[in-house]
Symmetry: D2
Amino acid sequence: MAGSTFGQLFSVTNFGESHGVAIGCVIDGCPPGMKLSEADIQPDLDRRKPGTSRHVTQRSEADQVEILSGVYEGVTTGTPIALLIRNQDQRSSDYGNIAMQFRPGHADYTYWHKYGVRDPRGGGRSSARLTAPMVAAGAVAKKWLFEKYGTQIMGCMTALGEVEIPFQDWDFVAQNPFFSPNNDVVPELEAYMDNLRREGDSVGARLMVGAINVPVGLGAPLFDKLDADIAYAMMGVNAVKGVEMGDGFDVVAQKGSQHGDEMPPTGFKTNHSGGVLGGISSGQPVVVHVAIKPTSSIRVPRESIDVEGNAATVETFGRHDPCVGIRATPILEAMLALVLIDHVLLHRAQNGDVTVQTPVLTMDEGL
Amino acid sequence: MAGSTFGQLFSVTNFGESHGVAIGCVIDGCPPGMKLSEADIQPDLDRRKPGTSRHVTQRSEADQVEILSGVYEGVTTGTPIALLIRNQDQRSSDYGNIAMQFRPGHADYTYWHKYGVRDPRGGGRSSARLTAPMVAAGAVAKKWLFEKYGTQIMGCMTALGEVEIPFQDWDFVAQNPFFSPNNDVVPELEAYMDNLRREGDSVGARLMVGAINVPVGLGAPLFDKLDADIAYAMMGVNAVKGVEMGDGFDVVAQKGSQHGDEMPPTGFKTNHSGGVLGGISSGQPVVVHVAIKPTSSIRVPRESIDVEGNAATVETFGRHDPCVGIRATPILEAMLALVLIDHVLLHRAQNGDVTVQTPVLTMDEGL
Amino acid sequence: MAGSTFGQLFSVTNFGESHGVAIGCVIDGCPPGMKLSEADIQPDLDRRKPGTSRHVTQRSEADQVEILSGVYEGVTTGTPIALLIRNQDQRSSDYGNIAMQFRPGHADYTYWHKYGVRDPRGGGRSSARLTAPMVAAGAVAKKWLFEKYGTQIMGCMTALGEVEIPFQDWDFVAQNPFFSPNNDVVPELEAYMDNLRREGDSVGARLMVGAINVPVGLGAPLFDKLDADIAYAMMGVNAVKGVEMGDGFDVVAQKGSQHGDEMPPTGFKTNHSGGVLGGISSGQPVVVHVAIKPTSSIRVPRESIDVEGNAATVETFGRHDPCVGIRATPILEAMLALVLIDHVLLHRAQNGDVTVQTPVLTMDEGL
Amino acid sequence: MAGSTFGQLFSVTNFGESHGVAIGCVIDGCPPGMKLSEADIQPDLDRRKPGTSRHVTQRSEADQVEILSGVYEGVTTGTPIALLIRNQDQRSSDYGNIAMQFRPGHADYTYWHKYGVRDPRGGGRSSARLTAPMVAAGAVAKKWLFEKYGTQIMGCMTALGEVEIPFQDWDFVAQNPFFSPNNDVVPELEAYMDNLRREGDSVGARLMVGAINVPVGLGAPLFDKLDADIAYAMMGVNAVKGVEMGDGFDVVAQKGSQHGDEMPPTGFKTNHSGGVLGGISSGQPVVVHVAIKPTSSIRVPRESIDVEGNAATVETFGRHDPCVGIRATPILEAMLALVLIDHVLLHRAQNGDVTVQTPVLTMDEGL
């Protein structure tokens, strides 16, 4: 495939640029017979959209989604579901100087060399704005997974720059602009961001995303392991530089007697694995950690070149997220949902007739 | 695809089980006209094969590769290259008890629930033995990349359990059984492993793999970013639980002014990005870090169930790697080579006519 | 893939239903740097659109295409090109009775059993209206092929029902509503169709489509032969029941000494092969013949069942093409263009470095 | 994909050359739990193998298949099934002159221009010998389809050169070397072939292949229609130049009132459609007709060029089939089986939860 399609059987083809006419996607392979309307999709788009607090870009986009096809009388028909979001607040004049220079740490330079042409307005195709259609598609996947298996997908921020965010309660995540599962740390996060904006700089973040009630058996031995596809999905999100399943890099110093999750008849006792064994879901919660780099569009001057190779000092003005991690939680949730639904369909294609007498183990611990 | 094929245009289809008749792969899409014989492939297989030191499994396999097709008079013809490795040392009696029980942390349980049947001998399809054909395919990819672009791919171990391995010199990697780029630490590593074997336990590891002389422009905006496909490839290797590009999880606490690699006309000054910007290669070295979990086949008794759901205490005897990370370096190198060659072919398919006046920046710093 | 995406590297994802909000497609993988605007696409859409003569459906659709993405300052950027066509003349009330009954020879019954739900308005997803986005995508492919290789793609009708249409001149094709390359036969065709409409019946047709200036070397040995992909593309067009390459079914009675096209240094002497040898283009014109069945939506009463399995007599009123073959020429041209561009990209991906001293043979005879 | 893999979910990757070490394939995605051994596969290979009568090539190949993986204790495990057939009777000296010249009508010329290198021995990769692994894979698919749905796949010859073969009885097909369903015509066929061999010429053939007990609902609206994939599969078989579904090219002159198969509650009354409506199986028998061209390797002298572009007269000696259609029946059966099983898996992936109250219609008429 040419690259803009995600998923094999529940396939999402993404299109659009940050400041083009519209962005959107086509979902192909959605099972028929599910109730669906824009109202099922909009809430996740609203969680991701810009301009909802002073800590994110002030671009004003309603991100209103329109279903163009694939739904008849409020029910999915099994045919492609096209979703359209018109861009509204394209203030392209902001980006004049960027068109001829390359921001350090940005896709400007690599796009230019790959294609020999690029839409520089708002980062064009490399903008995180293109995650909106994925959030929309993810909402469709989430709904199906929940109705079929009770699967629930949740994410939160676990660190903002140097500030660690100890987990308190999932309910808190929706109560602050940072998707922080900890309300006590919010003032510190706000002060941190306010200071950062004054400096004209940006910062990274760490997020966690996971799922409960994931059926056992999803994923292929090799190469389409469930965790391999999750890593692909997460690393494919703008600015992501690291992905961990379960204990992640902590496994380096672990012993086998410590890492392997014991599994007596009463159920899994721990979840070091993050819900995947040998590339296949175990029924434990799926747990993923993600590292997000600081935005490269900053006011701090940086050394670079222009399109003719001359030295240039780049300072980026315009509207940007000083921490793209802040709005990334619904994106990661959507990508996880898309991986899971694809593997559900792949699994039942090959193994729809499998029956096993062995009981499925439970797992008390949640995400 | 059904899952056992890696890569879109340079496609490797893997087959076999640990204790079956044979393992192997079919490489489809190799460019024609390259000199190739078994002698080009065997060295990497020898680097990966078992039984080369007391610190790895004592299973005795020559891992002799046979080219069945796709090469005529010593030159690739562009048609599928089938590679075959006969299994030799199948001591399946070792695995009697495992067939009816599930090792904590192992794929036993998930395979069973997915397929309702499994080959328990040596882990069957879930065995790391299946990485051998990938190492063979990777050797073909490495050769082509080197001849075409001078691309070189190198890996090493950077931590074994709690023991950190500070980088000294690439030349050292081939001089010890750990792929350690540090000779001074080798006695400590040996003592660590000897102790571990006595305890009947296993341990994790961290590895680095990278490439130099990677052309600029490889990778698609979304979703087939070069780093997304690298993450997929690495997380798909047995026992991997974490993948980082460049600075990886360190980016969480970085500022944008610190992370973005400045790029004056003299070239990139740093390589925090790990060689990928916006999902597309920048010409900087590609740098990847990988976390490998401890093996689940250990002598330490563990709580589990059997296939009927009854409580069982699992102790695994037989021949196993106490640290699969020790033999993983050539595997990670191969997977990186396979991702790179696939993206070279994808890139020139779409962008074969692109010409850009902007000079390509250099990067002095190596891996 | 879930089925609605055509092509591997120049990929077209189609969406929409006959009477939905909109139809369209996303082209992924178009090479960058080509000038493109709606004006390059609209002419082929106009050739295909309904209502242009009394011999086709009287539904009134402007089929005005809008480019939503992938083009910046009039040039393709290499990113997905989304094309949107709003439906305008949905007179869904026409289809009331069809919703509960199955037309013999129509997709009604099979869609219903496959999905358990369907959009019956105008045939929903099974409507030939969904070929419009393919015609639009094909126009993009045609433009690129012509600019790169001088490739030209042409089609015409060669039989309408029992009326054979002997070839006279390509120029005539645009001069009559039947895409007939013969002007003398047009009055007979008109009378034939007028009579058919009075009877409330429909009829089949045979079309030819071909290409000149196709580079040698397109297609893979197996399975993605150029002719195999052409057969897939053509048989995938609504109502097509037969596909022939070159001499097609006439080869059954041919001798090898008659069929094999002699190829002295002066060039190919004949073109029995239709431009493909061993699945790979030879540089001869590509020649394809296609059989199109009569429409199943007719006024003549037919025996069938309703959704509850009761006997039903089906008579279809509303607006329908009595011969879908009449508007099929631009569709077949588009599908051929899409196959060719995909194979050009696939070919240069693998074989971009191939050089051969052997001269390329010419072929005087055109289509 | 690089082209040598057939099928999306039941994927067969083919490898090998006519005179190489071995040929074979890897089946990925076979459902687990089916009994399978070489004895299930060999009979179809024996039907296809050379040397079984004086009317086919006299090359002596046992075509003995070895299962290398994917089967444990006589049962499929759901992991890749590798099948290996060693070549035995490579008499490559026969092909000396062919290496430097191009046979008219043969893949010689196009391979050479595509790859710049080719294995000329026995046609290398372009040889019909590469259909043997597909026959083997098809035997696995046939077994699964029969056990799951009672699906049966049958083929026969319907014309050999100018000799039409009127259908008499399926039982006759196995009783003569031509796969003729008519015993009376066999002497005429034998005389025809004997004469042809004396002339050193070759001839074409027409075959029919079909399936009964195909479940309703297989195939996607567009583009992966069941008939589109069948056309792809059939046109991809060596020497095929035409494919028809059901009435095929006869539909051109049919009226809609004649073509559309009436379907009262008692079942389909006719089968003009060939078992596919709107790209989706209807439950009627699937009926396909295929045109096979005469072999290009003939003793009759033909005008051509050599690799340097000089004029050359080509006369081909060595062992060849004067009519490749004679051995093609099991090949077409296999390809049809592979398409059907792939679509069964695709269908249940998306639509595994669909239930419909409408009864499934029957069809008395067989193939």
